[in-house]
């Protein structure tokens, strides 16, 4: 059975239907991506999973129903979000941001070990431990947001547009890190506008278009699919 199972997810803002009933799932240890153009409903889907927006759906996480639960409870079950636009705590230091990632944990030796792990994954953050997060560059903030999410030792990591607003060089670096996190066995649901990148790194993909999943399958197949190439890869 899949770790995350989403059935009939609908998200609407007032009268506007951003997500119109989609199904998808993520199995343990898998890296799955949700791709689509701007406004296709990708971020809304993530927010729907986390209970951050008004949504109707049946969502199971590790066999237990999580739809309808408040965000902080869902976070406590082991789903961690790297928000769109990074969402670092700007006026807290890098160290304090990472501490906040472990907000719900009480196993201090484990937290210390994970902190060391994050710092070895992102040596730049270690150098800037006492710097305010708001003064970091965009790429460093993205590293911090990922590191912070990892500090909760999540069972499922949700990444919302990690390439947004970053230079190509930094995007590559962030994606290398995501790949290495996935290789260590993490389960990841990646939302991305940059279809090329996301398809290369993931095992399976769902393509979204105006609130619906129009296509899904193994990423290596989709990358060859002429429809996808035409719509998202600019060919």
């Amino acid at each position: 059975m899949s770790l995350l199972e989403v059935r009939g997810l609908k998200v609407s803002y007032g009268g506007i239907h951003a997500v119109r009933g989609i199904d998808f799932e993520v199995a343990e240890g898998e890296l799955v991506c949700l791709i689509g153009a701007n406004g296709a409903g990708k971020s809304s889907s993530l927010k729907g999973i986390l209970g951050m927006v008004h949504a109707s759906s049946t969502i199971h996480f590790d066999g237990a129903r999580i739809s309808g639960l408040p965000t902080h409870t869902i976070a406590g079950l082991g789903i961690s979000l790297v928000p769109e636009g990074r969402g670092v705590f700007a006026r807290l230091t890098v160290g304090e941001n990472l501490d906040m990632g472990a907000f719900l944990r009480k196993d201090h030796p484990g937290i210390r070990a994970d902190l060391d792990k994050v710092y070895s994954l992102f040596p730049r953050l270690a150098e800037r431990r006492t710097q305010l997060a708001g003064t970091l560059s965009g790429g460093e903030q993205q590293m911090l947001a990922i590191g912070r999410a990892l500090m909760s030792r999540p069972r499922l990591l949700l990444l919302d547009e990690p390439s947004m607003g970053l230079a190509p060089l930094m995007v590559r670096k962030i994606y290398e890190t995501i790949a290495s996190i996935a290789q260590e066995g993490a389960t990841i649901l990646l939302v991305e506008q940059n279809a090329n990148l996301a398809l290369k790194i993931s095992q399976r993909a769902y393509v979204m278009e105006s609130g619906m999943v129009t296509l899904s399958g193994a990423s290596p197949d989709l990358i060859k699919d002429s429809q996808v190439r035409a719509a998202y890869l600019g060919e």
Partner: protein
């Protein structure tokens, strides 16, 4: 702080304690007894500012109606310890009740405003403050609850066993009037408030407040129960307001809605912003300055008479003008506050590098 001023902590602590104990006597002997009353007000405002600092500084919720909680605490005290209803409960019984009632009203204000932030929240809280004041102004009919604009008079002074905070007392050859006694009572409450505010800031709740202030979505994703944490900030802040209100009522012996207008809320907010938002020593200094400065400026008339032989401008007009000017100057030269917290100082210092930072954000070339 310059190096020569740095004393070993026990010595500094002892000096501070002695200063605080002797302060009313020193003040009374040099500036006159009216200044001992000013000292009492300084302590009340330190309490209020630290309370509001929980809401505004820690949790980042802009509350412009804070004085409502002060009013609630004060009116509860007046109802339970004055001839108005013929009740005369002891102060130690009323103060916790007032704090609790104010805390309850804090939640009452917090609950409908959970989804509001920034300017919108400010407008609603401002409205709340005015509603409470207008209620106090008009609840003299059909049932006389507040005695309307006339206010409630003859409120019982604090009594600690046989020691009633009224008239003259003699202790070790010193004459102690009510303001002196209230000074020590307020000092005790203020110190307790400072300790609680410090403990709160460094607690798990304090970290949750900081996260909430910085980014609500991310805070929720970290597992912070944003609803409860917000309500707690409102409730805790209001509790201190209610406590200060009760103390104020007993100290003044008289309260009326006039004491709880919007200006008071703004003044308390100014203390926080001016001193250094979120930073306890800064907030304390802000409260001290903004209480002492207007009082000190009352001497403007005397100074004019001494310098020019007659009063040219009414000191009352000049007082607020200079007060406002001082505020503006302080904000220009110390934008992060008089004693900013480590973080706010860095934040403002970083301002110079912003352009460079934005370049880095855009291109991020320096991998």
């Amino acid at each position: 702080m310059p190096k020569w001023l740095r004393l070993p902590p026990p010595v500094a602590f002892l000096l501070l304690a002695i200063t605080l104990i002797l302060l009313p006597f020193l003040t009374g002997a040099t500036l006159g007894n009216s200044w001992v009353r000013v000292l009492d007000f300084v302590l009340l405002y330190v309490m209020l500012a630290l309370g509001l600092n929980i809401v505004v500084g820690y949790a980042g919720l802009l509350d412009l109606g804070y004085v409502a909680f002060y009013a609630i605490g004060a009116y509860l005290y007046a109802w339970l310890a004055s001839p108005h209803f013929g009740l005369h409960l002891p102060f130690w019984a009323i103060l916790p009740l007032g704090a609790l009632l104010a805390g309850f009203f804090g939640v009452l204000l917090g609950a409908p405003t959970l989804r509001l932030r920034g300017d919108y929240l400010a407008i609603v809280t401002l409205g709340f403050g005015e509603i409470i004041r207008i209620f106090m102004n008009n609840l003299n009919a059909p049932f006389n609850l507040t005695n309307g604009p006339q206010g409630i008079n003859l409120i019982d002074p604090v009594a600690l066993g046989p020691l009633i905070f009224k008239g003259n007392h003699h202790l070790f050859g010193f004459k102690l009037t009510a303001p002196y006694l209230y000074y020590y009572l307020f000092l005790a409450f203020t110190l307790a408030t400072i300790v609680i505010a410090m403990r709160l800031q460094n607690s798990r709740i304090g970290r949750a407040w900081a996260a909430l202030r910085e980014d609500e979505v991310a805070a929720a994703a970290m597992g912070v129960n944003t609803r409860n944490v917000k309500l707690l900030a409102f409730a805790m802040g209001a509790t201190f307001g209610g406590l200060a209100g009760g103390l104020f009522a007993s100290f003044q012996g008289f309260i009326s809605p006039e004491s709880f207008n919007l200006w008071e809320s703004i003044l308390i907010l100014c203390m926080i912003v001016l001193g250094g938002m979120g930073h306890i020593p800064g907030v304390i200094l802000g409260a001290v300055m903004l209480t002492v400065l207007p009082e000190a400026l009352r001497y403007l008339g005397d100074w004019q008479r001494a310098a020019l032989g007659h009063v040219v401008v009414d000191p009352n007009d000049l007082r607020m003008l200079i007060f406002g000017l001082a505020l503006v100057l302080m904000m220009i030269y110390r934008p992060a506050g008089l004693i900013p917290s480590r973080q706010r100082r860095r934040e403002f210092a970083a301002e110079d590098g912003v352009a460079e930072q934005e370049q880095a954000d855009l291109y991020d070339a320096k991998v």
